[in-house]
């Protein structure tokens, strides 16, 4: 009984202590010159879907939920946002080479088609990221159109 109490107290103290360590937030001023909107046309309906389902991790600005202030939740988020950003960042898309832009678009289409993105854990916490079949199709159609327009430019 004493041991259980000790463990509880210990983890309580640890929990409070780790709250002090707060990761840097992914919130930056918007630079539209490198944003994806500078190279392809994004209809409003598509932009809403991208913002709801993708931008939290794949842009320079995350819309943080309140529980991101609780550690280690915030740490996990920071880690995932960093990883996601190195894979694809819509805010930097305009600075990618044309080849990379086309590859990334193809990857976006595939990930949505195969239900790899948005990831399960994100969809559980964000209802608006649970895309309907119609929403997925409209995203895939937009991906295809964007690829076509980028290829013509070449």
């Amino acid at each position: 009984m004493k041991l259980t109490k000790g463990i509880l107290l210990g983890s309580g103290i640890l929990f409070i202590a780790i709250q002090v360590i707060r990761p840097v937030r992914n919130q930056n001023s918007q630079d539209l010159s490198t944003d994806i909107s500078s190279v392809v046309i994004i209809p409003d309906t598509v932009l809403t879907l991208l913002k709801d389902a993708c931008y939290d991790c794949h842009s320079n600005n995350t819309n943080y939920p309140w529980y991101s202030n609780i550690q280690p939740v915030g740490w996990l988020m920071a880690h995932h946002i960093k990883e996601a950003g190195s894979e694809l960042k819509f805010s930097d898309f305009g600075s990618y080479s044309q080849r990379k832009q086309l590859s990334k678009l193809e990857g976006i289409g595939n990930s949505i088609e195969d239900d790899i993105m948005p990831p399960m854990y994100y969809k559980i916490m964000h209802r608006s990221a649970q895309l309907s079949t119609a929403e997925k199709l409209s995203l895939i159609k937009w991906v295809q159109q964007s690829m076509d327009s980028l290829s013509i430019d070449r």
Partner: protein, 200 residues
């Protein structure tokens, strides 16, 4: 509130299982740097002159690409993955000092993309579907490399309209008797030769 806690619990479980996987890529990144020094050791051991080392060649890149292709045609994700990892190494140790500024730019563009595709293929031995998706783009990159810098062997560009989930996809083959890396055993001979790339 209860609902939120429950969702939290599910997410934490998923993340815990994800993390064990995501540890691997960073390991791989760490090991990526090694082959460069490796090759130097090898070179100092043999009698290769400095000029020979500095010659730009995509021979090894093409051969690792073929290794991935064979793995996929055999429905063997593990073989494809080791080919992918080897391809990353080959790209990294390619000597580019002899390239002109213009060619260097082309090389940097194509090789960066190809490397990313190779990394994905290397990191997903258990997901051959995902490997094949990246192989579609990798094939485009290797084709452009070969067209730009020339190949020291005859290659065939094979196209199959049914591959790549019906969107159509091509790949490069060393022989006329090709094996479809997108279909594997299911439709190994599907496709037709679209172009013969001459030796240059």
């Amino acid at each position: 509130m209860k609902n939120l806690i429950l969702r939290f619990a599910v997410v934490v479980t998923i993340l815990a299982s994800c993390n064990s996987n995501s540890n691997n890529p960073s390991d791989k990144h760490g090991s990526l740097n090694r082959p460069v020094s490796y090759s130097r050791n090898e070179n100092s051991g043999t009698s290769t002159t400095k000029d020979e080392i500095d010659i730009f060649s995509i021979k090894e890149i093409v051969s690792q690409y073929m290794r991935i292709s064979k793995g996929l045609a055999d429905d063997n994700g593990n073989d494809a993955a080791s080919g992918g990892k080897a391809l990353v190494v080959s790209i990294d140790k390619t000597r580019t000092v002899s390239l002109t500024t213009e060619n260097l730019k082309i090389w940097a563009d194509i090789s960066a993309d190809a490397k990313e595709m190779a990394e994905h293929i290397g990191e997903n031995p258990d997901n051959i579907g995902h490997q094949r998706e990246h192989f579609v783009i990798l094939s485009k990159d290797i084709y452009d490399l070969v067209k730009t810098f020339g190949s020291d062997q005859v290659l065939y560009k094979v196209f199959d309209s049914m591959s790549n989930e019906g969107k159509g996809g091509f790949w490069l083959s060393e022989t006329k008797e090709f094996k479809n890396p997108y279909m594997g055993k299911a439709m190994l001979t599907s496709g037709s030769i679209q172009e013969e790339i001459r030796k240059k």
